[in-house]
């Protein structure tokens, strides 16, 4: 009954919304008209729109629409395509990358044409030895950049770097900027960001809204489709569900499975599901007892019923993970790594063999960041069932972050998101990347370290993938961590919204999005 009442209201709200937007509809084709303005939910505020510098996760999605990159991913996939560069070549020794740029691409608001010099200036600024950009460490292998003419960029590397193209295609610190505009606006740059992407920043009121306006000079014919997009920052999924239900916003990304389930029950909304380029796992301190004993780590693997956990608590928003490279990337060994069946009995036997017949006490550090609050208490439950007594420490995300960075834990959960290239997750098992790096288990294996370096320097995709598969099998035979789930993301939308591909990481591709009006 409640359901029916809700639905009636929804219809009324929808009619109201249609009436409102119909007044300002534009006609694109013969019959079809689309909304002039679309309002969507975004997760947070913009920090800074200088892509090479201080970039919060929320900046990446906005920068994705304002800036062009050399190359980028086809929205919703891990497949690379050209952006400013229409074609590119890699030399046989893997040390030289040549990009051929499109001609006639214009900067926003009449700041001129985008040329090879802008690309060079952007990357030079980031990788300069005295640069304090966090991106210096992502692109440190670029030794020099040449621009033989206005439309050719040549990058010289100090050694071959297999993941380079995937890094260049990821919308993190790769947006090409305009030197004159940056110097002209100085401290006010973020409010006046100049890019060459499909949208321009029209207004930004922190905590209130971010307004994007179509770039009339965008190089792709007919794009972007929607003239104006308003993004409302709402961080909490449960809060954001309200305005989607009432039609005040027409689209949003969600992580919380139960919020999604309640939205899915709403006949006026549609849910699209997709996989994220992310790995969520449980880590334990291998550098000291009790987890220095492989039998104890195996016991942890046998103790946790991942299938039930992911199947019931994360229904439809995640899939069980067996390895630590996203299946989206070439080189995932999801199907070949060792698996440990759920068996509390076996876990207890192993603990007894390792000299802990009565279990032991450790702490588990975890975060309030979704969806961990749903998962972590279940991890605690499973571990306690086999006699591992858990001191549960679920902290606000900022505190959690510094506790992890300071290695203040026995067990910790962590989600690592990045470009869909196996290299993104090599830090999880590399000896040199212990906290604040991502190797939260303090895993160390000289053979694996050498394989990682070899894989990084390998350019041939098939050979690389083979090396990464070997690394995963070796690391998981030693139970370097307990991979728990592959995170997904859900787009909840008004069914009239079309053309929005489910993002794979921090991308937020809006150029094809539009809302049909009847």
């Amino acid at each position: 009954m409640k359901q029916r009442k809700f639905r009636g209201t929804m219809i009324r709200a929808a009619i109201l919304a249609v009436a409102l937007v119909a007044a300002q509809a534009v006609t694109t084709g013969a019959a079809q008209s689309i909304a002039e303005e679309v309002t969507i939910r975004y997760r947070g505020d913009i920090t800074r729109l200088d892509p090479q510098y201080q970039s919060s996760l929320h900046d990446y999605g906005i920068a994705d629409n304002i800036y062009s990159q050399l190359v980028r991913y086809v929205p919703g996939t891990a497949e690379l395509t050209g952006d400013l560069a229409h074609t590119w070549e890699v030399s046989d020794d893997g040390r030289t990358y040549t990009f051929h740029l499109r001609e006639g691409v214009q900067w926003h608001r009449d700041w001129g044409e985008v040329t090879a010099h802008d690309v060079k200036w952007t990357y030079d600024r980031m990788i300069a030895p005295d640069s304090d950009s966090p991106g210096r460490f992502d692109f440190g292998m670029i030794q020099s950049i040449e621009t033989p003419d206005d439309y050719t960029v040549v990058m010289h590397l100090d050694e071959p770097h297999g993941p380079l193209l995937n890094k260049l295609g990821y919308n993190r610190r790769t947006g090409i900027v305009n030197q004159e505009a940056m110097e002209h606006f100085g401290d006010d740059y973020t409010a006046n960001a100049i890019g060459s992407g499909p949208f321009m920043l029209a207004a930004y009121d922190p905590g209130e809204r971010i307004v994007l306006e179509a770039n009339p000079d965008y190089y792709e014919e007919g794009l972007p489709v929607t003239p104006r997009i308003v993004l409302i920052p709402i961080s909490d999924d449960a809060v954001a569900a309200g305005p989607l239900g009432t039609g005040e916003v027409s689209l949003g990304l969600f992580r919380d499975p139960d919020t999604i389930a309640s939205l899915e029950a709403n006949p006026n909304l549609v849910v699209d599901r997709g996989q994220q380029s992310a790995i969520s796992a449980l880590y334990y301190r291998i550098d000291r007892p009790p987890f220095d004993d492989p039998r104890v780590r195996q016991a942890v693997h046998h103790a946790v019923d991942k299938e039930t956990l992911v199947g019931s608590v994360l229904t439809g928003v995640a899939s069980v993970a067996h390895s630590f490279i996203t299946p989206l990337a070439d080189g995932s060994a999801e199907d070949t790594v060792p698996r440990y069946e759920y068996s509390p009995e076996r876990a207890m036997e192993l603990l007894a063999e390792a000299g802990y017949p009565d279990g032991f006490s450790v702490d588990l550090l975890t975060t309030q960041l979704e969806p961990w609050p749903l998962v972590s208490p279940m991890l605690q439950f499973y571990l306690e069932e086999v006699g591992i007594d858990i001191e549960f420490r679920q902290l606000e995300h900022g505190t959690y972050g510094s506790e992890r960075a300071n290695s203040n834990y026995d067990m910790v959960v962590l989600t690592v998101t990045g470009p869909p290239d196996p290299d993104t997750w090599m830090g999880l098992v590399h000896t040199d990347n212990t906290p604040p790096g991502t190797n939260s288990s303090y895993f160390s294996n000289a053979e694996i370290d050498a394989l990682i370096e070899e894989a990084t320097a390998t350019v041939d995709p098939e050979a690389r993938a083979e090396l990464y598969r070997e690394i995963q099998e070796l690391a998981l035979a030693e139970t370097a961590m307990l991979p728990v789930f592959h995170l997904g993301v859900q787009v909840v939308r008004d069914p009239r919204i079309q053309g929005f591909a489910v993002p794979i990481a921090h991308d937020f591709p809006l150029k094809n999005l539009y809302m049909e009006l009847d």
Binding site: Q54, S56, V239, T246
Partner: protein, 313 residues
Amino acid sequence: MASYIAKRFLTSIPTFVGVITLVFLVMRLIPGDPAILILGDSATAESVAALRAQMGLDQPILLQYWNYLVGVVSGDFGISIRTSRPVFSEVARLLPYTATLAVAGIAVGALLGITAGVIAALRRNSALDIVVSGIATVGVAMPVFTIGIILLVAFSYNLGWFPSIGAGDANSFSDRMRHLALPAIALGISSMSIIARMTRSSVLEILGLDYVRTARSKGLPARSITLKHVLKPSMIPVVTIIGLSFGRLMSGTVITETLFVRPGLGRLLIDSIYARDYPQVEATVAFFAVSFIVINLLVDLAYAALDPRIQYS
């Protein structure tokens, strides 16, 4: 009067210095690193260090404190770590939203609370008293977010009468009022009870005073006694409560602004604490402290206006 105000301002200076020092210390004591929060959990140690240096967080704490004090004295609290904007201009931009919400909340609360309090006092211990006091107390017995959620589910999600997020179109008064209604009512209900209780007891107190008894015995009609002798002096505790519950009100705006996704100082503060945006937290708290001091002064001056027996010199 002028010298009284000047004296009050002078004595407020130590409070202000105390507040800004305390907030500086507390922010540095809080675990959590703005650089890690901005870069995300996947960041490398080197990039975290680079960002910390860029934000000046690698300087010795005393130097940071000195720079901070110099900034405060010159009216410059710095640039927000989270939004890269001058922190004070953010406070100034969001102040009207929160002030509107707070005033509307108090107005709703006072209207409901005074009415309930006077009725309850005049019909003391009757069934009406019990019912009215009970209803008024339910407001204080529910967390603001529960009240807010009930209002949202009923009047926004189901009936569709009011929008559920935002502050409305800045150019349309009616749209802003529609957006303001539910948060203001939520806030008003939660402050109504305390006002009702104070009104009830002060009205009772005054009803027991000799001159009111005299007026009653002289056969003055009940209504004119109520208005003339009871209501005006009763305003004194109500004004006190408005002053005292300023902090409570600010806490309420934090919750309502979060729940109704309204821009405002409360949400600014919470978001900034989450992000460990030190300069923004410092500026916002300093602003709250100044408002508190000013509001208390206004409350004291209001006493004088309401009660001729009180005079400041």
